[in-house]
Amino acid sequence: MALSDKWSLSTLRTAARRELGDPNGLFWPDAELNLYINDWQNELQSTFEFVWGTTTTTATATITLLAVAPTMLRVDAIYFKHGTSTSVNRIVPRSKTDLDAIKRAWRQDIAQDTPLVVYQDDQDTVSFWPAPTASGTLFLEYPTQLTLTSSTDTMGIPAWTRYSCKDYVGFRAFSRFGATQNQLKAARYKTKFDRQVKLFQKFYDNYMPENAAMLRPGGKFAADILNPRSIFLK
């Protein structure tokens, strides 16, 4: 064993049981702890998006995201390659409101070889403008959903998060109604977990630190790139 080991569901559960003082599962059954451990991993994955995936699919005017990538947490970048070309371009993400501002009649445009814009109709589907005419390939990049099902499944998020599992499980286990409920302990474990999350932010910011500032979303520079002024002036 090493500190770089990503723990299995079984090991995470055993560590949580040590923290709860319930090594034999007298108060909290395995199924309950498995639920909390999965929630812990989802909480950190949705906060930091530690694990990403890629998928390739055939381009159509509209695609259903979860049909293309069932484990997708949210879609991030979409690239397009025309069937007869080797050129690969990032398709620019826009809202329908943006498109209305760019060109009120955008829905009437005929299909063309290479789509320029991707917009989201609802949570499950994205569409392309103009719609692609011929065969093309889409490359999707996205953070994934993580699930621990069997006891041998290992955590997907970095190993340095593994001990925070005990604090999250402590918070959830002591919150649950029943003879073991202890609101004070639940609140303390929640506070402790929140402190860990702040620490993890510091750890992750220090990956390739020269770009730490740029990795923060929503900065003016990043916003200018995503919404270049020239687009709106057309």
């Binding site: 064993m1 090493a2 500190l3 770089s4 080991d5 560590a15 040590r18 923290e19 709860l20 003082g21 930091f48 998006e49 530690f50 694990v51 990403w52 890629t54 970048a77 690239y79 080797t86 050129s87 690969v88 371009n89 990032r90 620019v92 953070p143 998020i157 970095p158 190993a159 340095w160 001990y163 005990k166 402590g170 004070l184 302990k185 303390r188 474990y189 402790k192 860990q196 620490l199 510091k202 750890f203 992750y204 910011d205 220090n206 990956y207 390739m208 630190p209 020269e210 770009n211 730490a212 500032a213 740029m214 990795l215 520079f221 990043a222 790139i225």
Partner: protein, 218 residues
């Protein structure tokens, strides 16, 4: 006195009756990761191999805990990010394959290299290595005094959380103090020269804890 014995002394329990060995190891290992990752007083390296056509490549996250930069033939490569690539060109993927010079953190265990490799290359990844785990076969680490106290107090704070939360808070405060003292100690190494250097910038502050010449740590 090794780390395990020191923690057990503070718990007033020389052998495992209430706190089992596994619990003590958990407390210590959690504390080591937190203090080590915050202060980053060690550096390590790992080889990073890329091959033709693969521009998203995993790094060895069993060797390096916090990756920080790449070298190629002792030449530092450029850290970059996705936004900068898009800013440079929305068609950046069409750049002809070549030796990668820019490295983008893609997720917690992969980098995107740019341009896409035209051959196999080996880079050196520098970063914060993993500390050694405390277990039955290894009950101590080589640490300076402040780091050792920060780890021991934090481990005890973790262990007392369930049964004596107020005492746990006290130990955690003491751990934070010792962690800060260790940071100050890092900053004042080679301290005479630090006054002549330009003030630090945002990213230096963001990675506070790294050993480097720069601003005086406050």
């Amino acid at each position: 006195m090794d780390l395990v014995t020191e923690v057990r002394t503070l718990l007033n329990e020389a052998t495992g009756v209430w706190w089992t060995d596994a619990q003590v190891y958990d407390g210590l290992n959690a504390a080591i990761i937190e203090v080590w990752g915050s202060l980053k007083w060690k550096v390590g390296t790992s080889t990073y191999n890329v091959s033709v056509g693969n521009d998203i490549v995993a790094f060895s996250d069993t060797d390096i805990m916090i990756p920080q930069f790449f070298l190629y033939n002792n030449l530092k490569q450029f850290n970059s990010n996705q936004t900068q690539l898009e800013d440079w060109s929305r068609r950046w993927k069409n750049e002809p394959p070549a030796r990668p010079k820019w490295f983008v953190l893609w997720d917690a265990s992969h980098f995107r290299v740019f341009p896409s490799p035209d051959a196999s290359y080996t880079f050196t990844l520098w970063g914060v290595p993993w500390p050694t785990e405390i277990n039955a076969g290894n009950t101590d680490l080589t640490l300076d005094a402040q780091a050792r106290k920060a780890i021991v107090f934090r481990a005890v704070a973790h262990l007392l959380e369930l049964t004596q939360p107020q005492l746990a808070d006290t130990y955690m405060q003491q751990s934070v103090y010792n962690e800060r003292r260790q940071g100050e100690q890092q900053r004042t190494q080679l301290g005479v020269n630090t006054w002549r250097l330009a003030p630090g910038v945002g990213w230096e502050i963001a990675q506070s804890g790294n050993i480097r010449l720069g601003r005086k740590y406050q």
